[in-house]
Symmetry: C2
């Protein structure tokens, strides 16, 4: 093979801003890897190559030295030769791999449901009003935490999280949610999904049965499904998850995943009777309740706010309580927490630590300060009536725009309402049309899984970022989107 061909671009006016010696190295390496230069082929002496191409001899020597150090060429008395390497055959142009199809994703990855839509436009669910967040106060706490920084606080955080945050959280959860816990039972992790993932892997084995609500928070399903659990999709009614009694005998759950404060997405509040019944039965089936206290930050309407957590209803019950700061602070912070029974705290913590290294100690300390100063609960108190007012306007506008055929679910807590649209176009089509009009909504059908039960069609509408004054116009756009989807349906060519 002509070396001249390989090195043709070497003298060609240096189109790329790459030093000459790196280019020589790169050209030779590429030619060896693709078989253009063959094993055993002699490279010219450095002096000669330098003279031929008008480059410094040191440039050539450096390139040869690198290639030799990396094993691409071998040098002996006879000069420098291309090494004999276990090269694959050259790729035909356009082919990615020699052996048929590339390996691709796993089957379980293929089964994952994809997330659609923009997290920040109205009415994306699950986001609080980021514009109303008390940045000045939060920045002060962050700044103070950075001021106290030390090497220790920048290394991995202590397993389970910064002690100050665990203590502050234990106090907060006891007072606000009736969670019965000591700081040692509280574990800080990088997001609610990681908390659910940790439950799926540390509390259940491949093939174990997990009950999930149907419809369900897709990210929770994704975490459990990819951990190899066998999901059982249990219907939800107005009082939360509603399993047939026989199911407990037929497929006792190892994990029972619940969003009791405000079922996501249907908005039911799990009744006390079911809470107690689940507690009783989970012990008999030797399983775990994973209590995702989603949307519990803001209770609306009930005199005492939301019912207290399942975790606190029975001492030492097999319940893992999960919560997050995504809605009270901001989702990008990526801090969530889980509370495990006292008798499991030690062994659970050890295992959690081998699953995920903990970090963000500075942010954790800032958050502890923010909690202890009362800043977070003040923000919570400020926002509750604002969200309540937004919900009222959204409810009124939806009823006006979608008429009596549409019913509205949820609203006892949290930041979203669910609009059922049983007749007419598919929700995904409405959502697609709405996106073109600059409004995000999540299709209810995306939350459903498995067979059984009637399909549910509707929109999950977050009002956290929706200013009251804008809601009428935003709802009008949703109604337009629905009309457009309806028109498209009627004008679709017959199949």
């Amino acid at each position: 093979m002509e070396l001249a061909h390989v090195l043709a671009s070497l003298g060609a006016g240096d189109p790329a801003p790459v030093p000459r010696q790196q280019r020589l190295y790169a050209l030779l390496k590429a030619a060896i890897l693709d078989g253009t230069l063959t094993p055993g082929q002699a490279l010219p002496a450095s002096r000669q190559l330098a003279a031929d191409y008008g480059i410094a001899r040191n440039t050539v020597l450096h390139a040869y030295q690198l290639l030799q150090a990396e094993g691409f060429v071998a040098a002996d008395r006879g000069g420098t030769r291309v090494a004999t390497l276990p090269l694959a055959a050259a790729l035909p142009p356009g082919a990615a791999l020699r052996h048929g199809e590339p390996p691709g994703l796993s089957r379980r990855a293929g089964r994952l449901q994809l997330r659609r839509g923009e997290a920040i436009l109205p009415f994306a669910p699950g986001v609080g009003d980021l514009n109303a967040f008390p940045w000045a106060a939060w920045a002060r706490h962050l700044q103070r935490a950075w001021g106290e920084v030390s090497a220790r606080r920048l290394a991995y955080a202590p397993a389970g999280g910064e002690p100050a945050l665990r203590a502050a959280l234990a106090g907060y959860l006891r007072a606000r949610r009736g969670v019965v816990c000591e700081p040692a039972q509280v574990f800080v992790v990088g997001g609610a999904q990681l908390a659910i993932d940790a439950c799926a892997r540390l509390l259940a084995d491949e093939g174990d049965v997990a009950w999930v609500e149907n419809p369900c928070y897709p990210a929770a399903r994704a975490a459990m499904q990819t951990a190899g659990l066998q999901l059982l999709h249990v219907p939800v009614d107005g009082e939360g998850m509603a399993p047939e009694v026989a199911l407990w005998q037929q497929h006792p759950p190892r994990l029972l995943y619940l969003t009791p404060s405000h079922q996501y997405p249907l908005g039911s509040v799990l009744s006390l009777e079911r809470r107690l019944d689940f507690l009783r039965r989970i012990e008999a089936s030797r399983g775990w309740i994973v209590e995702d206290d989603y949307d519990s930050e803001f209770g609306h309407g009930r005199p005492g706010g939301l019912p207290p957590a399942i975790q606190g209803l029975r001492a030492e019950a097999p319940v893992v309580y999960v919560g997050t700061f995504s809605k009270l602070l901001y989702p990008g912070l990526r801090l969530a927490y889980m509370v495990v029974p006292r008798w499991l705290a030690g062994s659970f913590g050890d295992r959690l630590d081998s699953l995920y290294r903990s970090g963000q100690a500075v942010e954790q300390r800032a958050l502890a300060g923010f909690l202890e100063s009362g800043g977070l609960t003040r923000h919570q108190r400020t926002m509750a009536p604002i969200y309540r007012a937004r919900q009222a306007v959204l409810r009124r506008e939806l009823a006006a725009a979608f008429g009596p055929s549409a019913s509205i679910l949820g609203g006892a807590a949290g930041l979203h309402l669910t609009l059922l649209l049983p007749d007419g176009p598919a929700d995904v089509e409405i959502v697609r049309q709405a996106a073109e009009l600059g409004v995000t909504a999540r299709p209810l059908s995306e939350y459903r899984a498995g067979g059984g039960g009637p399909p549910q069609n509707g929109l999950v509408l977050g009002y956290g970022m929706a200013d009251e004054k804008r809601i009428p116009e935003l709802v009008a756009r949703l109604a337009t989107a629905r009309q457009q989807a309806l028109d498209a349906l009627h004008h679709a060519p017959p199949q």
Copy 2:
């Protein structure tokens, strides 16, 4: 049941700083939950209870209202009665659960290896010199990123990470590691372990075979094991992972996990021949190479630094490249990245996004700025000779203190050396003694798994945080620890 008994502590001088109405509510709730007050039992009229205990009637009314809202009591014309609830039998004192043993951890959690030791003392492996980090420069970039903050940047980060960081990373990896990639192939995740976890779940299914090095980075093993993969522990020699050729036929890997730049913990550099051989064979077995480019930040000794990444040796090969900023910046930052082939980037990114929500957009933008300004590579250039000098001193001191029976492995890159101590006391015992002397070392035996091959005894010693001047004294403590472990061995009572 006497209500008087339940409410005995109500008037008792308010020992806890809890409002009277909350205490009344809590006492009644607890008594209902534990069966002290029985279903259907009438509670006294609010007026009467208020008079009996000398509390305001509104206090009683509020407590009753809460209990009713939560379903603990029911009110009708006949007054307020305890609701009929599916209660479990009362717990006998001291018993956690009614049905025998509590459910506990999963089997796979039980198999996890626990991490020991402190991440910040010398010689903890895997930590750079946090005291030498250019805090002022990093703080400026962080501050600038906070200055540009917006609601969008505080919501979930765009799937895959902030575009500015993905672009900066692609450039950095092309230039420094020969990784062939566009920004769209780069995905930012919350730590290297999450990157490995994503590979295990998105590229492999339960029961699929994963080859791991033996000894191996325990956190990688933990991620793959808890994802349900079947691990095959392949021995490592001086040129990296050394599988028998027959293994490729017998148990072709779906995932092949490698630390090629500086095998963790033995410090071998994977030879070019094996890199190419693995690339050729992985295509035939339709598997994936997970290239954890651990320790590639600092190459020592070779003229051109470390050999370039496997990823860049063959266009579009089935390789996922994984790296982290834990050693260049600080572990607590919890930012790592993965690079996937172009043909997988789209579908992989969609799935990654349903597995973990992305965040920390502010930190990601700060990091992009730090990379683009050249600050990070400047820090890298500053630290390389410092670490090299520390390694030289550590090597010299270890040789002097442990004599010819001990051999030292590794050092071509990274921040640790491995001291083999085949004779004498068990490494875990030396590590235990060393911890009492204030020195962290990781026992080599902790990295081994599975049967086969001789046991390996030794110490994995990180020198990132070890000041040159202190190393002689620290090594002396290690030698003392070994002597103490030896003494304990000889003075152990006969079995």
